[in-house]
Symmetry: C2
Amino acid sequence: MAKKSEVPELSRVSRPRLYEQLVAQLLDFIESAQLGPGDLLPAERDLAERLGVSRATLAQALVALEVLGVIDVQHGTGAVLVYRPNVPAVIKGLREHRSRLPEIVEARSTLEVKLAELAAARRTDQDMQAIDAAIDVMAEEVAAGSKGARGDELFHQAVTAAAHSAVLGQLMAFIAEMILETRLESLGQPGRPEQSIASHRKIADAIRAKDAAGAAEAMMAHIDMVSDVDLLK
Amino acid sequence: MAKKSEVPELSRVSRPRLYEQLVAQLLDFIESAQLGPGDLLPAERDLAERLGVSRATLAQALVALEVLGVIDVQHGTGAVLVYRPNVPAVIKGLREHRSRLPEIVEARSTLEVKLAELAAARRTDQDMQAIDAAIDVMAEEVAAGSKGARGDELFHQAVTAAAHSAVLGQLMAFIAEMILETRLESLGQPGRPEQSIASHRKIADAIRAKDAAGAAEAMMAHIDMVSDVDLLK
DNA sequence: ACTGTCTAAGAGGCTAGGCCAGTAGTCCTG
DNA sequence: CAGGACTACTGGCCTAGCCTCTTAGACAGT
């Protein structure tokens, strides 16, 4: 592996995958055919032919839809729409323009405030070390002239871990990618990284003191601050 | 609709799928091999042989991991671990015992309180009608002697819709299945459905009055109430 | 009539093997 | 020594086929 490139810089370009297009098309189909929970999708062989793809590829798309919670594929029966019908529409909406910044900030705020509160109540000494280490990383990054995005991310990951809630952690992971966009935008503003580090310290102190209300408040203030970016105006 | 069976009773039995096992095995592998973000998984042909499956099946597992946000498959390069390394562990944890009721209640509470608050601020008249209709459905169900689970679910769906946040809605959908278990448990307790309807009315009134703080408070009280089930003790 | 068993059609599950298309390192050229 | 072609990888997708599971209907036996 050796040196490789400095920073991998995720998502280089477009990467068209057939199964992804199929997912989109199937979502469209479900919507336009007015299919509801419990209804069956057409048979694989049939669908594959209609969509002009092989069964193997269609199977990949079905796996994706299954993981997304849209369908439930049953051996011998077919692919049935899962209960909770509006989900396909929601996913479709998310796919179309995944940068509904205000909504993302909203979701982030909701989750992270709770996470900070829980972290204050449940953190172990080890968690605390990770949080402090993350702040140090960010401070070093900023001192070196960068935005400190990596340290910022580490900090939020450490707080999430300290909350010891797998379910909330999973929800955070779900929106983590979208949050990244917000983060980069925010840290790009002059003076912002320093402010960010200061409010991280405030959050960390509240968690250290096991002050749940204080941690929640500090996190809320922090998110208010970083959310104040041009994109939202 | 005819007599049919009383309750649909979803998820009939186990449904072992090879790709699901592969996902679990790959997650294990990633963990045990100490792979971090940016690292590559072995080549498909190699993995398929080692795991004793065909490439097509392995490809399904990789699609699942991609949708789960664990890897990023790049044509000509391979499957690279995505940034945010701890995610595999989290998912793995969720898979293993998906009924950490306390955590689920916690997540539900966090999201729904926020959702109620937003609903109060953003609801349209149409949203309000749906919320009221859901309460009526539940009242009828209870009057007819059932637990009112369907109306209960409708109510929470209507509130979620009224918040007009695709992102938060998606997060709710994510934990919706787990919530179902909690719901049935709670509504099974004597006198509970009636209490539940009463607190639904309180939430609906706050949303009707566009009282965000009141709606959040009412929802919090509601969730505290329904969370008080044997499972949590 | 009712009930249980058998059977066959059709659904998905998975495999084997092959060809095409990107990627990246290497090794020739000019 | 730089640039381009080569080549040995990687994944993407397809065809063809056989296996297993589900379900409904035929056909008993009661």
